[in-house]
Symmetry: D2
Subunit: 337 residues, 4 copies
């Protein structure tokens, strides 16, 4: 018996990548896909990639109805819209993996501040597990609600967490200069992601104001055991996929590159998708995979870390499947290698 999966909001890029991964999953069956519009064509018209592979309608179903037909829910809804639907699914006793930001921040006030919204289901915040598998695997095995991490936070937290935990770097002065492909901006056309605007160009955006900032700071603070503030500067790169985070920090004591790589390797023992490498990683090396490649260089008195992921896989849908695997007691790498 396969696990029947329902996907709330399957018209975007994370929905498409999730479906493609689940089609390879021997224990999962994509049973229901929804849209919040009534007039959607069949799924394979929205995503021609799926022609002949998954013949499902895109229905505007209530979360209750989806829960009746499914054993597990992946919610690919925008923040704000997600909270209520997720709560409904939890009430129907279905485990949920939520792609939105709605359950990532532990503090509803921080959420309200950054997202400009009162949280619609704060009662579920305490039970939500932040779905960065490499940090929260024990909690994920019993989780009912997983807050799937943001793409930038995944690339930023993974290299920093073990170094902060080991007190190898200072908690202040951390700078995260992140570069993302355009699919990270979603599938809704906007001027800034119109091909002739963003092709052949690079620029920063939302510097110091990006909503992934509090998520990064929350998790780095947890790793450090004390509050951590960062400078987070995201950039838009003319490519579909991939995030490269270049991270600058001050060591607490003189460190060599090999010291740092050793700390990374120790922090991620038994983590099948973390590759600590000697070379400077390119996003190409991890494109269409669930891997995170990371390394470090020491330049004068500054430690420079690099982490590369595919924003749609390790930064979204791959991590979600990894969480799904852990929650259901399956091999962590199923459908991901």
């Amino acid at each position: 018996m396969k696990i029947r999966v329902g996907i709330l909001g399957a018209t975007g890029y994370t929905g498409l990548e999730l479906i493609k991964l689940l089609l390879r999953h021997p224990q999962a069956e994509v049973a229901v896909v929804t849209s919040r519009r009534d007039d959607e064509p069949p799924l394979a018209e929205t995503h021609p990639e799926l022609t002949g592979r998954l013949d499902l309608p895109l229905l505007n179903l209530s979360p209750e109805e989806v829960c009746r037909r499914c054993d597990c829910i992946f919610a690919c809804l925008p923040h704000g819209a997600a909270a209520e639907s997720v709560a409904t699914c939890l009430n129907a006793d279905r485990p949920v993996i939520d792609f939105s930001a709605d359950f990532r921040l532990k503090d509803a006030a921080v959420y309200a501040h950054w997202y400009g919204l009162e949280h619609a289901a704060p009662q579920h915040l305490p039970g939500a597990v932040y779905g960065l598998c490499e940090l929260y695997k024990p909690q994920l095995t019993t989780a009912r609600l997983v807050a799937n991490p943001g793409c930038y936070p995944t690339a930023a937290i993974l290299p920093l967490a073990p170094l902060l935990r080991a007190e190898l770097i200072e908690r202040d002065g951390i700078i995260i200069d992140a570069k993302s492909g355009v699919s990270g901006a979603g599938r809704t056309p906007k001027l800034v992601t119109h091909f002739p605007e963003c092709n052949e160009s690079i620029s920063a955006y939302n510097v110091g104001k990006h909503r992934h900032t509090p998520e990064i700071e929350q998790e780095l603070s947890a790793a450090a055991g004390e509050p951590v503030r960062v400078v987070f500067a995201p950039h838009l790169v003319p490519m579909d996929r991939g995030i490269l985070a270049t991270i600058y920090a001050r060591p607490t004591r003189p460190l060599t590159k090999q010291d740092v790589l050793a700390a990374m390797r120790e922090g991620y023992q038994g983590c099948p998708f973390i590759r600590v490498v000697d070379h400077l990683p390119a996003t190409r090396h991890v494109a269409h995979t669930n891997f995170c490649d990371m390394t470090a260089e020491v330049v004068g008195e500054t430690l420079v870390m690099f982490a590369a992921i595919d924003n749609l896989i390790k930064g979204a849908s791959g991590a979600a499947v990894q969480n799904f695997n852990i929650m259901f007691g399956m091999e962590e790498t199923t459908a991901l290698l």
Copy 2:
């Protein structure tokens, strides 16, 4: 005294390229730029490229008002919207270079068929000159209304016209397989031009239905002296700029490559922007220029022609400036080399 230029509809890519060219023009002054919206920021906010170079507001002015302030009008409005504004300017005795399709087709019924619109100013069709400078230079010197050619028609007509005129190729069976950069689709964001949709992909669109088809057929028929029908298959290529037209035709008699190049060269004697070359042209060679590079190859019994242009320059704004130069008796290449 410079010629005061008014640009109707300056928020798009052709408007921007036109302004950049005119800023180099010693006899022109961009005096007025308009938008059809009331709430536009200054021009240099819409086009940050123009910061410090042209400090003008984007005003929602009537064509009458623009005519009061200007000596010559460039209309960069969508088809349908253009016809009436152009007529107003002509009534105000201002010469107009119209970027839209509204005055390209001689036959209002053909226009109505392809554009699904009754023509708003058919009285001006007879006087309009099709602004392909290489074919209509004599008429352009006295024109009051120039219908600036479409980008695809420019690339398709230029290599074919001299060969049809010289009766070197058959009038039937002409196939135009054209490849365009994305800026040809304009500046309004749509799903099909959303970066993650069109990057790393090529596809055909509107095959046999593209509105540039009747324009191509009209001008090829004029060159041939008899009706010409073509198969026109446009493709979207993941690049900003450039059109490459690959054109297949049957020779009327055995021809060598050099025969064809000689006919092209003879057809374009004294045309400063036509470059008949021996190699296969790349759009890169003409990017950001007003050149059209063309060549031909004979493959078995088929003649294959190639023409490369920059869709925004030779395919739009550069051609417009070339027309402007000719209309005002200036050196044809002014601001274009």
Copy 3:
């Protein structure tokens, strides 16, 4: 017991894609990978994508030695270099899937003409099976030497073969305007594939002279039962992957689009990787998959066909794995969905 696979020449893009596919194959084990150079670093340094996934050295082994260690050979060597190695493997009684052009052309004289080389193992030409699974599946089940098709031929032959076989299109006057991503040119740096040369540009190359021409003509002639000659015009598109073939032909009798799609569907019943679609396919829809999407449009008296593939998967490594599956009696889709 898994089938031990040896890959001759694993440093290029087809080698990399082949390895990635085989890592997902439950019945295959990549046992040996070779290079023709002595000083290669380990495989995962040449292909950082494989870090932590396949820990093998790149050895300069003789084909004999590879045959001793393996049950099946994939030869990813250049044409000319392949023939002799393949012959050695066959003599060692190992089945071979050859990626090169060396065994695709049935006639050694045609090979000599187009490749400028005397064939090094013409005795194996009669036994070689052209590995286009959709056309030669019965022969492939017992093949010992499979000539894996070229990327362009795959995209050109697949839509045309059923229509020629059904005599729906004329055998003369077929035009194939093909557009390929840059990975089709291989991994050796050249000026023409240097990023600043081919990015933001499109151009044709080798028109009428490309070595895939005789391969296309051989297979179309086989389908038609009489000699077929084509005009083949390949173009280089600024993207990594994908081929779109736009094909023009004259119908033998009046046809509708649905007539043509019906003939395509009938021709490919039971073929899991052929998707006959109503829309115009984009290479994006088949990227990183083994699918071939095809459709047709009727424009006046011309039939226009479109086929999209991933040049490295369906056009090379995916087809090779599909052939491998068929040869070894496994499910045709194994490791390919």
Copy 4:
């Protein structure tokens, strides 16, 4: 009488851009172009962009011979090769604008350390003027040897120099995270700039080791009046052109964004190519121009600066023409707007 210009080493991208600019220059004539190879085709075969625009052979002439035919020399040779040729031209009493790194570093020992070469003409180092026009305009008016700045240094120094001079930022802890298009790597094909390797990917390279580091530090030290060390992390971005430098520094006292912009504006009064803007600049805004767009944001206790240039124009050939204009007493903007 025009100034006859000789270009040593005209086969690369900076040579091509230089020629295109000089073709617009009313007081310059490109008289001689050289290559260090004997078998070059004519210039317009190497650069098809120049077809019909400049009909010159590419000759392997000695610098002496070039000096006999020209009034001013632009040397576009690699470092190491440039020093001797430049010295020869100076001895022949010709002013030289050198694109290489050979005369940028004041200290021959620093040069030897970073470039692994003994300097071939150290006697000319004291007289060389660092050609960053915005900083050295007075010296440039009388210079005989201009060391044209590197592309990264231009983008890094311009925003920092006025702030260091005004003591608004600390001299230590400056981090320069720079992102460059691929043309910055030159025209010689290498694996790292092979299209399928660098397209759809971003990565850092030469972090802490890039040869532009000492050049940046030399000029920032000059601005600060005391030694400055930086962390310089260059990245390769999948686009042709453009550099974006994102620079992190600590203010010496609390600053607002407007304080910083005011200091930048004051530092560059009368500089026609510096645009201090409020928005975050994109490289697209300055592509194909000689502008440098810069701005700043304050994030917590960190000042983040942004500067965007076209690496081939303001970062190379445009700056060279600007220097040429200043050296010859012409309008600084000639041929550059």
